[in-house]
């Protein structure tokens, strides 16, 4: 018997390699359920999951919702725009009220880094961080690692290039923590204004040119350029960004011939990734990532559910 030694999933930073492996192994077993005619198992019957999303999301929220439903949990979606948040209720008050309705798991996305940690310390329910500011997005990193392991058979010893806005990307941060823990070599590249100053302290190589990071990579992970950042003068124009950092046929050739291309979505086609690569089934695993996302989130719900025995 085994168990995840945690009440909450807040980040990859505080996970051990064994915990990551347990989640990935469990998720692999869940993949099969999504291929059945009846895509449902009774495991979490009578449990309820609240998806509390303070930021826009289609993919992640839907993925958590489907994951809960395939395990027979009741899933309730609350988005900030349609809740009492617009009436001025604080996160803490919202959480206390939700707690009083006795759900089992709360999935939280919030623009403030640390919001899920605050919630986890206040309520007895399990909290899953579905993205907190520029801090972490653990379920995304887990589904990315699952996809890499599925396609490459391992993570240990691979070179993974992460390209784009490293500074504002919670996906990058969670992946850097996870991939380095699992033994991968991580190289990042992006404009100087999008590169955290002491990024090397996380155990990665930092480059200012996409080519330098991509050389010999087994995995090329492109990040979404957050268009709203343009207003903050972090980059001058989309065209200039695309000229220097868009993944295309030419720079992809620097990677290993069997390299896979990943993107957490939503994609800006022609900005960070050229459409012919995004749609090339020979290298793009972007839709596999989405498929694996449901399985990873089922694994998280499954491993967090249950009694509190020792």
């Amino acid at each position: 018997m085994m168990k995840l030694g945690k009440k909450d999933i807040l980040g990859i930073r505080d996970m051990t390699p064994d915990e990551i492996r347990l989640i990935l192994d469990t998720a692999e077993s869940f993949l099969e359920i999504s291929t059945r005619d009846i895509k449902k198992v009774p495991t979490l019957r009578g449990k309820s999951v609240i998806n509390l999303f303070y930021e826009a999301s289609t993919r992640t929220r839907t993925s958590f919702e489907i994951a809960g439903k395939r395990l027979s949990a009741d899933t309730i979606n609350i988005s900030a725009s349609s809740s009492s948040v617009v009436k001025g209720e604080t996160l803490i008050d919202t959480a206390r009220n939700l707690e009083a309705m006795n759900p089992d798991i709360i999935v939280l996305r919030h623009s403030a880094a640390g919001a899920p940690h605050l919630l986890a310390s206040l309520v007895r329910q399990s909290i899953i961080n579905a993205g907190d500011g520029a801090n972490e997005h653990p379920s995304q990193a887990l589904l990315d690692m699952m996809t890499i392991r599925e396609k490459k058979g391992r993570i240990d010893g691979l070179k993974v290039a992460i390209i784009g806005d490293i500074l504002h990307s919670r996906v990058a941060r969670s992946n850097i923590h996870g991939l380095t823990k699992m033994g991968a070599r991580v190289a990042v590249a992006g404009p100087a204004t999008m590169m955290p100053r002491d990024i090397e302290r996380l155990g990665v190589e930092a480059h200012l040119k996409i080519d330098d990071a991509i050389v010999d990579a087994d995995v090329v992970m492109m990040l979404r350029i957050q268009l709203e950042r343009q207003k903050q003068n972090i980059f001058p124009s989309l065209r200039e960004y695309a000229q220097r950092f868009c993944l295309n046929r030419r720079n992809l050739q620097l990677a290993r011939p069997d390299a896979i291309v990943m993107h957490p979505g939503p994609m800006n086609r022609g900005v960070e990734i050229s459409p012919d690569i995004a749609d090339d089934p020979g290298c793009s695993v972007i839709l596999d990532q989405v498929n694996n996302g449901v399985a990873v989130r089922m694994a998280l719900f499954y491993l967090l559910s249950g009694g509190n025995d020792e």
Binding site: M1, T43, G306
Partner: protein, 182 residues
């Protein structure tokens, strides 16, 4: 773990083989051949027994009988009561179960709860014409109205004893042991 006070081998390698050979013939006799017959082994012990039955039945009939693997963890009735989880294994049923006669295979039949979970799982995969149950050991103490169609050996046991089926494929030896639980 402390040493078990009592450790008794109740079936050896030949015994297991003979039981499985007999069960293979009984399955074919009862179903009048292997038309529409499929085997589904319950993780983990049931898989190896199902594989052996597959070899025997296929050898007798001269054609291959389909084999599936079922992990019943997600259908257990005690899953919400504990945060300890058995490692979740893969389920592989690479054929349609609708209108098939399914022979469910497990190593030990005890409370019947595993079989209840397995039947629920199977029915999610289709509508079998029939489900039959083959077990190597029936140790009694049923908690649900379930019985086996094919039994290797009836082994009346006390609740304080543990009955373990050790198989070559996972334990390196073929034997059924009964030991007092410590």
């Amino acid at each position: 773990m402390p040493e078990n006070k009592d450790h008794k081998i109740v079936m050896d390698r030949e015994g297991i083989e003979r039981c499985l050979t007999r069960i293979a013939y009984e399955i074919l006799e009862k179903n009048k051949g292997m038309d529409n017959l499929v085997l589904v082994g319950i993780r983990t012990g049931g898989i190896y027994l199902a594989e052996r039955l597959q070899k025997k039945i296929s050898a007798i009939e001269g054609k291959n009988i389909p084999l599936g693997i079922l992990d019943i963890t997600l259908y257990r009735d005690d899953i919400a009561r504990s945060n300890k989880k058995a490692p979740l294994g893969k389920t592989k049923i690479p054929f349609d179960l609708t209108d098939k006669k399914v022979i469910l295979v497990d190593d030990v039949l005890f409370t019947g709860r595993t079989i209840r979970a397995a039947m629920d799982a199977l029915i999610d995969f289709g509508r079998p014409k029939m489900i039959q149950l083959a077990v190597l050991i029936d140790r009694g103490h049923r908690e649900l109205p379930i019985r086996a169609d094919y039994v290797g050996k009836n082994l009346p046991s006390s609740l304080w004893e543990a009955v373990s089926v050790h198989l070559l494929e996972k334990n390196g030896t073929d034997e059924v042991v009964i030991e007092e639980e410590t």
